[in-house]
Symmetry: C2
């Protein structure tokens, strides 16, 4: 019997996590579940799993949550401080799946309890990687990546020494525009960008996949998670998204992790680590799939991975600036304010004009994030 | 500094092993080197690596070996008993690379010393699997497979529990005849059969690759090495031979090992285990390779894998009979006495007519082997 907290229980990662827990009820006891604002769904899940506490980040939904939990004996709470408190309750495994910088503080609180953190919050590592990994080391926490690529790398490194790594290769689907010309890219619409070929994802991450910023952010994450040196990290385009990532060793052996495009696979890997647990995912049938293809990424049409590599190289506040500028640019693209190819151009502009010192704390990170967003918004309105 | 013995030093696996040792001379001291009959090459290698003892299996070459080693201070010996004694000297790592049943006794002698056995002798596991694994357990030896497929599986299992395995999938190139019709197969010549598309190998193993008996023998080996149950072992045809094998876990994760078609990769993996060592093999460039394809095996045109699966299922002496019958049939095919498609037919005939009891010792295995060969030879002459 292990205890579990899910920060971001009503999102896609949260739902996949709880689907797995539902199939293995006897093995888990739920400590805390949190959501942004969906009080009804959060209350339903808290009742189903017998959580100790349910927290809505947006306090205006706390009365609704209280009503929905009336008579259940489950504690209801709301607001940022309650979110941090939920993380700080400690659980054997905390799934950190709150999107964006809102997830940083509760994730840090969970890290400070020293348990297993199944990390699905990209911003945590991209914006606050150095601060967060220092906390992981200080508190003896175990960070298990849930992103399919990083989880793949984690699995391929299992039982090996990072000193023996020759290359870590992140695979990228290349997104819906991988074969589009520059001219066609400049005219790409939001509707076209969110139509991802392999994964069913939200709008923001679908656009990130189309620009390759998603892979760029993953490169920065990998740089923090797997300290083999940036020059040993590379990206390959693999349209079928069957191989989730690879590690090549100094002897010429490459280990790859393959699987369906179903987040329950990496989540299960993190939940059950160092063992395995059942998932309902269909076995891999490579004879049915027939072929897997690979090609070099094109950083002229898709400059995002170059920008991300430069940001990781620079370190300090630069990755946080890149992430914030990208979020604003993507929102502006989705809102019809800027063109698709302006996303990367605008990120590069913000990076060129704002170079704050390295953040030493979570509040420094949030300040950098806020200032970078403000500068990015100015660029949108002046475009 | 670790000690090394190479049983079969002048063959292809032996040469690859010593190539790696040559590049890491400071880490290794050579105990024994053995060869079948090539005394000149054996003496050259024994001098180069400062071996304690050099052994020719064929005693008629012992005088030549003595002459070639004169003044070196290296002991020279010859004959089957000297071969066993070389294995019995014990070394931290023994590379068991003698082809055929001749390798059984010295490999068993090495196992009895309890060190690491890097096993490249297929017959050892196919014919004497049960006897050999009992000895490994009894003497606390560590068996590391050097065959590229089994080494791949070993790497993919690292850090995992076999209880969590859903499938182990052996990849097969499909050999040079994978797209040939039955009619064309019946007329295939020895020259066509030995032209393997990916690996540079000897005639016997090339024919085994063309018939798929090689994959069948590997299936039997895998059944001994990785006790997940025969119904969890399967074969997939992968013409590029880049993916060397795969393991799928109950959570839907598949781990695959990829690499060049160079035996130095799996040998290095076994020599350095549980660490890694450098090899001169070029890094894997999947963008350059472009595509990897997969398809189901066709057991109508290539019945070998079906026969091997049935032999593994039956256990006892049956795999030894299959192996012996195949060796005779392949020799008959290479000698122009039987057609290509008669190889599998003749193996099936021998299996149908000879069902000895399970061997309890190495001498039982050798007796079964001898009798199966005699029966197979009779079939050749009566064809």
């Amino acid at each position: 019997m292990r205890t579990l907290t899910v920060l971001g229980a009503t999102g896609s990662i949260g739902a996949s996590t709880l689907d797995l827990i539902r199939r293995n009820r006897g093995d888990w006891r739920v400590t805390a579940l949190t959501a942004h604002s969906n009080a009804a769904e959060l209350a339903r899940l808290a009742r189903e799993f017998g959580a100790e506490v349910a927290v809505v980040a947006d306090e205006t939904h706390l009365p609704a949550l209280r009503d929905a939990l009336a008579g259940s004996g489950i504690e209801a709470a709301g607001g940022p401080a309650a979110l941090v408190e939920a993380g700080a309750r400690g659980a054997d495994v905390t799934v950190a799946a709150i999107v964006g910088c809102a997830g940083l503080a509760p994730t840090m609180a969970a890290i400070e309890q020293g348990g297993v953190i199944a990390l699905a919050n990209k911003e945590a590592l991209v914006s606050a990687g150095e601060v967060m990994l220092a906390a992981v080391a200080r508190h003896g926490a175990t960070l298990l990546p849930v992103d399919s690529e990083h989880n793949a790398i984690f699995q391929c490194l299992c039982g090996n020494d990072t000193a023996d790594v020759r290359w870590i290769t992140l695979t990228a689907s290349g997104g819906p525009f991988r074969d589009w010309s520059w001219d066609r890219l400049t005219a790409a619409t939001p509707a076209e960008a969110v139509r991802h070929p392999n994964w069913d994802m939200g709008a923001k991450i679908s656009v990130d996949s189309a620009t390759m910023f998603n892979k760029g952010l993953e490169l920065i994450e990998a740089h923090h998670l797997f300290p083999v040196g940036l020059d040993r990290l590379r990206i390959i385009v693999h349209p079928q998204s069957v191989v989730h990532s690879m590690v090549e060793y100094r002897d010429g052996s490459t280990l790859a992790q393959l699987g369906p495009s179903d987040m329950r696979v990496p989540i299960a890997s993190a939940l059950a680590w160092p063992r395995r647990m059942d998932t309902p995912c269909a076995p891999l049938d490579l004879a049915e799939i027939g072929e897997l293809t690979f090609r070099k990424p094109d950083e002229v049409r898709f400059p995002a991975t170059r920008l991300a590599r430069e940001a990781a190289q620079a370190g300090g506040a630069v990755p946080a600036v890149l992430n914030a500028a990208n979020e604003i640019a993507v929102a502006a693209f989705l809102g019809g304010q800027i063109s698709f190819t302006r996303i990367a151009a605008q990120v590069e502009d913000v990076l060129g004009s704002y170079a704050p010192p390295a953040p030493g704390s979570l509040s420094d990170v949030l300040e950098v994030d806020g200032e970078a967003r403000a500068r990015a918004r100015l660029l949108v309105t002046s475009t």
